[in-house]
């Protein structure tokens, strides 16, 4: 069905010596890490440390300047069909990025219909399933601008899920939300985590990161400073920088 089925490496995504330079600004410096299938990896770090850039590189929204990104053992930077790859590695954004000309339902149908070439009936059935999963089924007829931020984000998650991604990337999915809506979205993501979806989540929600992730990555200045289990990173960080950063979130 796809050209990604043969799995040669150990991680579903392996990042090797990834570098990204904007003009003269070196935003990512020699990033190395690998994502195991079924794992939830949270990426934390200060503003400007390159978290979004790294996530966008994984989805090829930015083109890395150096290094390799292997998806199921194949280097995606050499991949001609970028769209086909993106269909397997979905992304949810801080600003939701829903299509404003479509209802919630249509937002979740257009990808499966146009990209996966599903029939309208099948796409609708699945869209309803995923919208229900994120608790948005009453709002299927609403346009994005008629929904609150938390509701839009849940639709965006349903839209991504409807593509049956192998990996889902989240870039600060709750940062643009009012506090009372953050919970709804995190709840949905916890559910996905418990179902075994492979996720990479950039977040400032430390309690959430501690609770759901299998691995936590701390980034600073375009470098992966420290990584480990949530217990290691939150309980007993080895680097002073990590400790420094986490000390700002003592309310957790």
């Amino acid at each position: 069905m796809s050209n990604y089925d043969s799995n040669s490496g150990n991680g579903i995504i392996e990042i090797k010596h990834l570098g990204k330079v904007f003009g003269k600004h070196e935003v990512l410096k020699d990033i190395n890490f690998s994502i195991k299938e079924g794992d939830v990896t949270c990426i934390i770090g200060a503003s400007g440390s390159g978290k979004s850039t790294m996530l966008r590189c994984i989805n090829l929204l930015e083109t890395p300047t150096s290094g390799e990104i292997l998806f199921k053992g194949k280097d995606i930077l050499k991949e001609k069909n970028v769209a086909a790859y993106r269909a397997k590695v979905g992304m949810c954004f801080q600003s939701f990025n829903l299509f404003s000309n479509m209802t919630a339902l249509k937002n979740c149908m257009v990808g499966p219909m146009k990209v996966l070439k599903k029939s309208k009936e099948e796409a609708e059935k699945e869209a309803l399933f995923y919208l229900d999963k994120v608790g948005m089924s009453p709002y299927i007829k609403a346009k994005p601008k008629q929904l609150s931020g938390g509701q839009q984000q849940r639709v965006a998650i349903a839209r991504a899920l409807a593509m049956h991604p192998d990996v889902l990337l989240f870039d600060e999915p709750t940062s643009a939300l009012d506090p009372q809506m953050v919970g709804d979205v995190l709840e949905v993501m916890k559910k996905l985590a418990s179902e075994g979806l492979t996720m990479i989540i950039v977040t400032h929600e430390m309690a959430f990161a501690r609770d759901v992730s299998d691995r936590v990555v701390y980034m600073q200045d375009g470098i992966i400073w420290e990584e480990g289990t949530p217990e290691e990173i939150f309980g007993n960080p080895t680097k002073p920088e990590t400790r420094d950063f986490l000390s700002r979130f003592r309310n957790m």
Partner: protein, 252 residues
């Protein structure tokens, strides 16, 4: 004179419609993104086409339609020995003139749709073309409806310059009626009124169309029927997918 008014309308409407189509095609071509890993041939071809389109837009926006009419009509006659005839000439000139204006408008319309939606579309694996057709153009069209209306109204009025190449539209017929009966003031009072009625009618019609395009201001919450359908008949539409990833196939 009524016949002249009819001619004016037909020319204005056909010219605007074809002009919009030209504008959309030109605008679409001008906004094709070039990627680093596109072939050299594609890049050069795109560059050449874009230069030609740019010249077209600048020439036809930067000269009066009356002069264009004379230039093309007599040019065709003298250089190529073609007599275009009234209708062909009129449609051709109005379309090509409107197309040049619309090209810029469409480009603006495309840029008016937030980039975040393009990224949203990319993230679910949609190609540039799919994104344009399903997401960007519908919104661009809505955003430029006021300009399309403007263009139609300008065209209704400006077809009068076509009388210079012998096009028997409203202004031409008015002039001959006035000349025949020596009733200049009376005739042109009626002519004024006829132009005004036509333009007022179309402003109203286009507002109406815009409202229709916006869709309802409210949305219905999905009824219990739909919800029963959702949760009742949909255990898991993506059974095999869910299974091979170990996701649970229950959802509350």
């Amino acid at each position: 004179m009524a016949k002249g008014a009819g001619t004016t309308l037909v020319i204005a409407i056909v010219g605007t419609v074809i002009g919009c189509i030209i504008g959309f095609i030109v605008g679409l071509i001008q906004t094709i993104p070039v990627n680093q890993n596109d072939s050299v041939g594609k890049k050069i071809l795109l560059k050449i086409v874009n230069i030609i389109l740019k010249i077209y837009v600048e020439v036809f926006r930067g000269t009066p339609m009356m002069v264009q009419a004379m230039f093309l009509y007599y040019g065709a006659m003298i250089l190529f020995n073609i007599n275009m005839g009234m209708w062909t000439a009129a449609f051709f000139i109005v379309s090509i003139n409107t197309g040049a204006y619309m090209a810029e408008t469409v480009r603006g319309g495309i840029f008016s749709v937030p980039l975040s939606q393009t990224e949203g579309a990319k993230a679910i694996g949609m190609t540039h073309f799919q994104t344009m057709v399903n997401v960007i153009l519908p919104q661009a069209l809505r955003n430029i409806m006021p300009q399309i209306g403007n263009n139609l109204i300008i065209n209704i009025k400006d077809t009068c310059v076509l009388s210079c190449i012998g096009c028997v539209e409203l202004f031409f017929t008015s002039k001959s009626v006035a000349g025949t009966y020596y009733t200049y003031f009376e005739t042109f009072t009626i002519t004024m009124a006829m132009y005004l009625i036509m333009t007022l009618f179309f402003s109203w019609l286009l507002r109406f169309v815009e409202k229709k395009m916006d869709g309802p201001a409210e949305y219905d919450l999905a009824t219990t029927d739909t919800l029963a359908y959702t949760s009742g008949t949909l255990t898991s539409p993506a059974k095999e997918h869910v299974d091979d990833r170990g996701l649970s196939d229950r959802h509350e």
